[in-house]
Chain length 145, copies 2
């Protein structure tokens, strides 16, 4: 299992390990507060304090085991990725569920930008907002206010 081997070959402290496992079990984009709440609902023991969760997310992010996603509501969310990889999402503004897109198609674009603007691309943010299939069928038609 990926997480276990990661724990063995790097020095993940208890907080980081626990948070990484929680993220895996939750299985979707989660904020620090989401994770904190999940611990309070599911695991009475070993629940790290909110501060520790923030620290763990930071260090896991620096280890490239997570990616951060900002959906613009002031709460940063995280998810497990293959080390060094990343992807983007379709995010439903109704239910906040997200669909992972297969692969990032912006790599080629980056190199063209570098040539054209003399700009060294380090990272990028791309998220697509809308209404998912489920929510579309719930609300047959948006009220034309």
């Amino acid at each position: 299992m990926m997480i276990q081997s990661t724990l063995n070959q790097q020095r993940l402290n208890k907080g980081s390990y626990t948070v990484l496992r929680a993220l895996k079990e939750i299985g979707k984009l989660s904020s620090a507060q989401d994770i904190h709440l999940w611990f309070r609902l599911n695991e009475t023991a070993d629940a790290p304090a909110l501060t520790t969760i923030y620290r763990a997310l930071d260090s896991l992010l620096k280890m490239n085991l997570l990616q951060a996603v900002d959906i613009g509501d002031g709460e940063r969310r995280y998810e497990i990725v293959e080390p060094g990889e990343h992807h983007h999402h379709l995010i439903c503004t109704d239910c906040l569920e997200s669909i992972h897109l297969e692969k990032c198609f912006l790599e080629a674009f980056a190199s063209s930008v570098e040539q054209r603007h003399g700009f060294v691309v380090r990272s990028h943010v791309l998220e697509i907002f809308g209404i998912c299939r489920k929510c579309s069928s719930k609300k047959p038609k948006a009220p034309s206010v």
Copy 2:
């Protein structure tokens, strides 16, 4: 002039008009606090309170006269756009200056997403981070920490 005609044909209240004019004069991505500071440095009279600036930005955004840009530092920035249009940026993480990209190339992508995932695209966020030409030449080489 675009702003003036906008004021005439719509009912922009004083706060919104003043903030819109400030944004035009500042001429770059600005947060509410940026604008507030600019007023304190440049215009002793007519400087709207911070609360009013937030309200003005909200309503100008709803009128599609502005676009909001989130560079992930917890401070939302705004800029004037042609009504209904939008564009993306190359943002230098060193000096925070931004280069406006010509046109959004994601429109075509949106329709393919709709078909493939049954997802109705409403909006998207795309910002590209890196080091601009000026900052690259300032620091010839990044320290390999």
